[in-house]
């Protein structure tokens, strides 16, 4: 089973739109949205949620008011300024470390598991999708990313699907690291802007830091020709393959407006480029470009299970 993770460093370069187009083109796959704090993939794939699960991660203190003597030891020891003499005064500052609980002379504080969000299994026009919603202002986005990836792998294994397509989060921090670790291919979607190029370089450093295979897709390539040429040269120097160049197109926006992928709307003018991108990715990952007779048989069997 191969795992393709679509990332970008900079936000808004087209990760979700391109992931959705690939989901449309790839014959057999499971889909994952790893942008757990602002998931969007379900909005273009016609997702119907089948199962919903609560996600718990991390801890929060619970104080027994009757046992607490307001001695203030917790206040002295808390490095985050979250607690004042047995009262959680700044819950948003609390890291859930438990220092207050483990050092309370009266054992008045207990650490309880924290509800950190939900994750969902959905049916879409392109197969099964796993996505999530991080709780309001909680940490552990990285853990939730790992959770949805893990669940997708289970489904891909059970259903004998050769590919997982992962719509990744922006940035290079905790969720991006969690989305990338151990992937078969990190596909960076870059736009030819100074920001996009700067952020690609930082993303490439992160991917190299974890020694993962990387490829690039230049999106909105006609927005700025000189910058596009610079990206091509930069990739050549870094030995990073460019698997696709997608011209700037307002069709992406129209597609999102109608809840579809760009390949499903009549005015699409980027079909050829996206098909070529998919074929290059399939070649790179050494997986079938289109469904074989045997695959179709599997699909049919799966329908009846």
């Amino acid at each position: 089973m191969k795992e393709l993770v679509i990332v970008s460093g900079k936000g808004g370069t087209g990760k979700t739109s391109i992931s959705a187009a690939l989901a449309y083109l790839a014959p057999q796959k499971v889909l994952v949205d790893c942008d757990v704090d602002a998931a969007n993939f379900h909005l273009v794939s016609g997702a119907t949620i089948k199962d919903s699960y609560a996600f718990t991660a991390g801890f929060q203190p619970h104080i027994d008011d009757e046992t607490c003597t307001r001695c203030g030891k917790c206040t002295d020891l808390c490095r985050f300024g979250a607690i004042t003499a047995g009262v959680i005064t700044s819950p948003l500052n609390c890291e859930g470390c438990g220092v207050c609980a483990f050092n309370c002379p009266k054992h008045a504080i207990a650490m309880q598991e924290k509800q950190a969000g939900h994750w969902f299994v959905s049916d879409t026009r392109f197969g099964c999708l796993i996505h999530a919603e991080l709780g309001l202002s909680v940490e552990n986005s990285g853990k939730l990313v790992s959770k949805v990836r893990h669940e997708a792998k289970k489904i891909a294994t059970t259903d004998h699907l050769p590919l997982i397509i992962t719509d990744g989060p922006p940035g290079i921090g905790c969720p991006a690291i969690a989305a990338l670790s151990g992937t078969s291919l990190a596909l960076a979607v870059v736009e030819p802007s100074v920001s996009g190029m700067h952020d690609l370089a930082r993303l490439a450093d992160l991917v190299a830091h974890f020694q993962l295979p990387m490829a690039v897709c230049i999106n909105k390539s006609t927005l700025h020709q000189e910058n596009t040429e610079q990206i091509v040269i930069w990739c050549q120097n870094k030995d990073i393959p460019i698997l696709g160049k997608i011209p700037y197109s307002d069709a992406f926006r129209s597609a999102v407006q109608s809840g579809k992928t760009v390949l499903e709307i009549p005015e699409s003018n980027v079909t050829e480029e996206l098909t070529e991108l998919w074929q290059n990715i399939a070649g790179q990952l050494n997986i079938p470009k289109s469904a074989s007779g045997l695959d179709l048989l599997w699909q049919k069997i799966n329908i009846f299970r």
Partner: protein, 283 residues
């Protein structure tokens, strides 16, 4: 007045708006809190005031001569940052939250603390706009949490007077919350698509939770159904739409080239007027 510029969805135009607002002000500090991917400096090309300063967090240091492998540190660490094997404790410092719990738990005095670099901080003044002072933070590659660096940058802002703009990271998780926290007003930048609306709603839940007065700017406005959906949503949340920036390819091209687009300067002036009348800016 401390104004944060945030969005749920990435690429809606936070940095663009921050730069437009900064360029329309006579004397302002811009704090780029998108430390994973800081971009403001690319447009401002600042003259830096001195070398970059390292920003550090404290992580435990285990003295293997003193450690007897009792496991007390590992047992209390809720982040699983310490594991004990045989007679020694092993630290996974990227999981550490610097809470100091293991120091308190160790009965052998085997744990002390040392500094670990997580990023750098630089300040400078824009070459082309001498009225814009930039505070730039850069997260070290491979560091999972940007929060300590963002908190450090927000501390810098406490010593400043006058108006301050904070360019926030995308999303709605801890980085975004820490960047937005403490601001007098938050501008959420969105685009008139279902993606933009969905993520605007999530971001607005955060500013509501933090009790920060919020306004919305619709970027890449289509002056059609997309805008209307956002406007109806904002009305349902009693949140003002401060401005609309039209969808413009020439604007996008100027941004791509690294220029602060001059096209919609009037919009920035109008936003400042609204902020001043609403929040009472100190400028």
């Amino acid at each position: 007045m401390l104004i944060s510029i945030a969005s749920g969805k990435g690429g809606t135009g936070k940095t663009t708006l921050a730069l437009l607002l900064a360029a329309a002000h006579s004397n302002i500090t811009l704090i780029d809190c998108d430390v994973e991917e800081p971009n403001c400096h690319l447009f401002l090309q600042p003259e830096w005031h001195g070398p970059e300063q390292a920003v550090t967090i404290m992580v435990p240091r285990i003295d293997s001569d003193r450690c007897n492998g009792c496991g007390a540190c590992s047992a209390i660490c809720l982040f699983s940052a310490i594991a004990v094997s045989g007679k020694s404790a092993l630290l996974f410092d990227e999981l550490c939250h610097s809470c100091g719990g293991c120091l308190l738990a160790c009965q052998q005095n085997a744990i002390s603390e040392e500094q670990k670099v997580i990023g750098t901080l630089m300040t400078g003044t824009a070459a082309s706009h001498p009225g814009i002072h930039l505070v730039n933070g850069t997260l070290k590659i491979g560091t999972p949490s940007a929060v300590p660096l963002i908190r450090r940058m927000k501390q810098e802002s406490l010593q400043l007077t006058g108006d301050i703009l904070v360019d926030c990271p995308p999303g709605t998780s801890c980085s975004m919350v820490n960047a937005v926290k403490g601001s007098d007003f938050c501008i959420l930048v969105t685009e008139p698509t279902p993606f933009g609306k969905h993520d605007l709603e999530l971001a607005m839940n955060i500013t509501h939770l933090l009790q920060i007065p919020t306004g919305v700017v619709i970027n890449k406005s289509d002056a059609a159904a997309g805008d209307e959906n956002i406007e109806a949503f904002c009305a349902s949340r009693q949140t003002p739409v401060l401005a609309k920036i039209p969808h413009s390819l020439s604007f996008a091209r100027q941004y791509a080239a690294g220029c602060i687009p001059v096209e919609f300067q009037g919009i920035a002036v109008s936003i400042w007027q609204q902020l001043t009348s609403e929040g009472g800016a100190r400028a």
